[in-house]
C-alpha cells in the first residue's frame, strides 16, 4: 500500500469520525462469555496483559480495533498510544506476553467476538448489536 493512497484515506477518516468521537467506547464479549462485568481495573489488566487467564483457567483472547486504540487507551489509562506501544515493545522482547490481537475495524471486532466466546474487544457504542454483550462502559 502506497502512501499516496493511504494519506488521503486517513485524512478522510479523521474528518468522518468527528461525530463518532463523541460516542462512548464499550468493552464487549460473546453473550455466553463467563465474564459478567468488568471494572476499569480489570479491563486494564486484561487489555495490557497483566491478566492472561480467567479464574477458571480459560484463556482470554483480547482484541483491539486499530482506529479506536488511541481513544480507548487514552480513556482507559490516560496514556498516549506511543507509550502503550513502547510498553508492548518491552514485553515483545521477552516473547512471553503477547500483545492483543488487532483488527482493522469495529465490524471485524464484532464478528470475532460473535464467533469466539473467549474473546473480548472494544467498540463504539453505536456499533453494538445483539451478537455481543457490554462488559464495561468507558465514560469519557
Amino acid at each position: 500500500m502506497s502512501a499516496r493512497i493511504l494519506l488521503p484515506a486517513i485524512f478522510a477518516l479523521l474528518l468522518s469520525t468527528q461525530p463518532v468521537r463523541a460516542e462512548v467506547l464499550v468493552v464487549i464479549a460473546h453473550p455466553d462469555s463467563p465474564i459478567g462485568t468488568l471494572s476499569r481495573e480489570q479491563a486494564t489488566h486484561l487489555f495490557l496483559g497483566r491478566v492472561k487467564l480467567l479464574p477458571s483457567g480459560a484463556r482470554v483472547k483480547v482484541v483491539e480495533v486499530e482506529p479506536l486504540r488511541e481513544t480507548f487507551y487514552r480513556q482507559l489509562v490516560r496514556r498516549e498510544i506511543a507509550e502503550i506501544n513502547a510498553y508492548w515493545a518491552r514485553l515483545k522482547f521477552s516473547g512471553r506476553t503477547q500483545p492483543p490481537h488487532r483488527v482493522p475495524d469495529a465490524a471485524a471486532a464484532m464478528a470475532l467476538v460473535a464467533s469466539d466466546p473467549s474473546a473480548i474487544a472494544f467498540v463504539e457504542g453505536g456499533s453494538l448489536d445483539a451478537r455481543a454483550r457490554v462488559l464495561f462502559r468507558l465514560d469519557p
Binding site: Y87, R90, L91
Partner: protein, 541 residues
C-alpha cells in the same frame, strides 16, 4: 721575641671533630620533619579511613539507587505484566554491576525473578527496596525491586580509595620534608659548616680571618662571621700586648733574680712571726741553712743566730710599731762552722700582710778590727800588759760581778832603782827591763789576776775573788822576792833593782778604782820610806 703561636686546632682533636652524619643540623632537622610528617600523615590516614569508608559506602549506595532508577521502568512493566523473562533480564542486568550482590523482582505474592547469591535473613535487611507501581497507575503498587549491595566489594573499594589517599599523603609529606631539608641544608647548615670549618682551622696568632660563607653576606651568618673577625682582631691585639708585657716582666724578673741569687749580702723575707719564707744563696751560706729549700722554709731567723737577748723579736716589734728600718749585729755559725758576724737590716714590705724584707751583711772583719782596736787601746804597747785605761775597764767589769763572799785585792808595784838603770844603760835597756819585769810579774801572779802598767815604772795587779788578805800578802811577798833577783839585759848585762808594793784589800761592792789606787799608793809610799823592796798593807778605809 716571637710570641707563641696558638690556634683552635691545638685543642685536642677529640672535642673538635667535624660534624657529619647523624649529628648535622640538616640530618637532624630532616629526621625530625620526617618523623613529624610521618606521624601526622599516619594519624590523618588512620583517622580518615573510617570516614572514607563510610563516604565510599554512601557513594556506592547512591550509585546503586541511581542504577535501580534506570531499570525501574522496565521492572515496572515486567512486574505489571508478570513477565518473568523480562524481570530476569532486569535482575541479570543489575547483577552485572560488581556492587550488587543480589537482585530480586517480586510482585505482591511471588518472586518474579532473582539473580545473584541469595542472602541470609540477617543480611536481607540491608537490601535497598524500591516499590514498583503500575506503569499505568502511579498509585497502584504491583511489586518490589530489592537489591543487596555487595558490601565486601564496597569495603574493598573504600580500602583502595583510602590506601590511595594515604599513599598520596605519604608522597606529599616526603616531598615537603625533603624540600625543607634541602632548604635548611642549603640555607643554614652549609653556611654554618663553612663558618665552623673556617673557625676550626684558624691560626689565631697569625691574624687570619674567617671567610663569610658564600651567599650569606647580608644575613645573620654573614654578620656572625664579621663579628667573629672583629673579635679575633681584638684577641690578636690583646695577645700581642700580653706577650710584650710578659716578655718585659720576664726580663725584669730574670734581672732581679740574678741580682738576688748572686748578691754577696744575704737577702731574705720573713713572715710576721719571723719565719724565713724566701732567701738567696748568700744567706743560706751565712746561716748554714739546709741544702733543701723546702726544709729551710719556716725556720725562725732568731734560731739561726746567737740571739741570746731576743734581738730579732725586738726588731720585729719595732717594725710592727711602725719603724721603717731597724738594724742590729748578730753572731752566727756559717756553713764552714766558723763564727761570723752579720749586720741585719729589716724593713717592712708594704701591703704584704706583715711580711718583712731583710739584708744580712757579713761584718766579721769590721767586728774583729773593732775588737782589736779596742784591745790595743787597753794595752800598754811596750809590755803588752793592760794600760791604765784597760785596767779601768777590767776593774769596771770585775766590780759589776756579784760575788758572794769573795773580796778584791789591788797591788801597786813601784820599781826601786829603775831610773838609775835607765840613766846608765840607756832607754832601750830600760824598756827591755820593763818587759822582763812584766813577764816576771805575770809568772808570779795567779792566772786569773790582771796585770797592768799604769806609769813609767809603776805596775798594778788586780786580784779578783780574793777570799782573804793573806793571799794578797803572799803574792806581794813573792813579787818583792822575785823582783829583787838580778835581771839580765842587753847582751848579758846584769842589773839589780827592787820593788815597793802597796796592798789594798776590800769587800764587795768595792770602792772606786781611783780610791783604791790612792790608798795603795799611800801604802807603797810607806814601804819605800821604810827602806824599799818590801810591801805594806793599807789600812782598811
Amino acid at each position: 721575641m716571637t710570641p707563641e703561636r696558638s690556634s683552635f686546632s691545638d685543642v685536642p682533636a677529640r672535642g673538635f671533630e667535624r660534624v657529619t652524619g647523624v649529628r648535622s643540623i640538616a640530618f637532624r632537622t630532616t629526621a625530625r620533619i620526617l618523623l613529624f610528617g610521618g606521624v601526622v600523615g599516619a594519624v590523618v590516614a588512620l583517622g580518615s579511613a573510617p570516614l572514607i569508608e563510610s563516604r565510599e559506602h554512601a557513594r556506592l549506595e547512591h550509585a546503586l539507587v541511581e542504577v535501580m532508577a534506570t531499570v525501574e521502568r522496565t521492572a515496572r512493566v515486567a512486574v505489571f505484566a508478570r513477565d518473568e523473562t523480562l524481570a530476569a533480564e532486569v535482575v541479570t542486568g543489575l547483577i552485572q554491576s560488581r556492587s550488587v550482590a543480589y537482585a530480586v523482582i517480586e510482585d505482591s505474592d511471588a518472586v518474579l525473578a532473582a539473580a545473584g547469591q541469595a542472602p541470609d535473613d540477617a543480611r536481607a535487611s540491608a537490601a535497598l527496596v524500591r516499590t514498583l507501581s503500575s506503569p499505568f497507575d502511579e498509585d497502584e503498587a504491583v511489586g518490589r525491586l530489592r537489591v543487596l549491595p555487595a558490601t565486601a566489594f564496597i569495603a574493598e573499594q573504600a580500602a583502595v580509595y583510602s590506601q590511595l589517599l594515604a599513599a598520596l599523603l605519604a608522597v606529599l609529606v616526603v616531598s615537603i620534608t625533603l624540600g625543607v631539608a634541602w632548604l635548611v641544608r642549603r640555607g643554614v647548615t652549609c653556611g654554618i659548616r663553612a663558618l665552623s670549618d673556617g673557625l676550626h682551622g684558624l691560626d689565631v696568632a697569625a691574624g687570619t680571618k674567617v671567610e663569610v660563607p658564600a651567599g650569606h653576606a647580608r644575613d645573620e651568618l654573614g654578620r656572625l662571621a664579621k663579628d667573629i673577625n672583629a673579635l679575633l682582631a681584638r684577641v690578636d691585639d690583646a695577645l700581642e700586648r700580653e706577650h710584650a708585657t710578659q716578655a718585659l716582666l720576664a726580663a725584669s724578673e730574670r734581672k732581679w733574680r740574678r741580682i738576688f741569687e748572686s748578691a754577696e749580702s744575704g737577702l731574705f723575707t720573713l713572715d710576721a712571726e719571723g719565719r724565713l719564707s724566701d732567701w738567696n744563696p748568700a744567706l743560706a751560706a751565712a746561716l748554714a741553712l739546709p741544702a733543701e729549700r723546702a726544709a729551710g722554709e719556716g725556720l725562725r731567723l732568731a734560731d739561726r743566730l746567737l740571739d741570746t737577748e731576743a734581738g730579732v723579736e725586738r726588731m720585729l716589734q719595732a717594725i710592727r710599731a711602725g719603724a721603717e728600718v731597724v738594724e742590729a749585729d748578730f753572731e752566727c755559725g756559717n756553713l764552714k762552722g766558723e763564727m761570723r758576724w752579720l749586720h741585719i737590716v729589716l724593713n717592712p714590705l708594704e701591703g704584704e700582710g706583715g711580711m718583712v724584707q731583710g739584708i744580712a751583711s757579713d761584718v766579721t772583719e769590721r767586728k774583729r778590727a773593732e775588737a782589736l782596736a779596742r784591745a790595743q787601746a787597753a794595752r800598754d804597747a811596750l809590755t803588752g800588759l793592760l794600760n791604765r785605761r784597760g785596767l779601768e775597764e777590767v776593774y769596771a767589769r770585775v766590780a759589776r760581778h756579784d760575788h758572794d763572799a769573795a773580796g778584791l785585792g789591788l797591788l801597786l808595784i813601784d820599781l826601786d832603782g829603775f831610773k838609775a838603770v835607765n840613766d846608765s844603760h840607756g832607754h832601750e835597756a830600760g824598756d827591755e827591763l820593763l818587759r822582763v819585769v812584766a813577764r816576771r810579774i805575770e809568772t808570779v801572779v795567779r792566772r786569773t789576776d790582771k796585770v797592768a802598767r799604769v806609769g813609767g815604772d809603776e805596775f798594778v795587779v788586780l786580784l779578783d775573788r780574793l777570799n782573804s788578805v793573806s793571799v794578797a800578802r803572799n803574792i806581794a811577798a813573792k813579787l818583792v822576792d822575785s823582783l829583787a833577783q838580778p835581771f839580765s839585759v842587753r847582751g848579758g848585762v846584769q842589773v839589780s833593782i827592787g820593788a815597793s808594793i802597796g796592798v789594798v784589800h776590800t769587800q764587795y761592792p768595792p770602792a772606786q778604782a781611783s780610791e783604791l789606787l790612792r790608798r795603795a799608793d799611800a801604802a807603797m809610799y810607806e814601804a819605800k820610806k821604810s827602806g824599799k823592796s818590801q810591801y805594806r798593807i793599807a789600812f782598811p778605809a
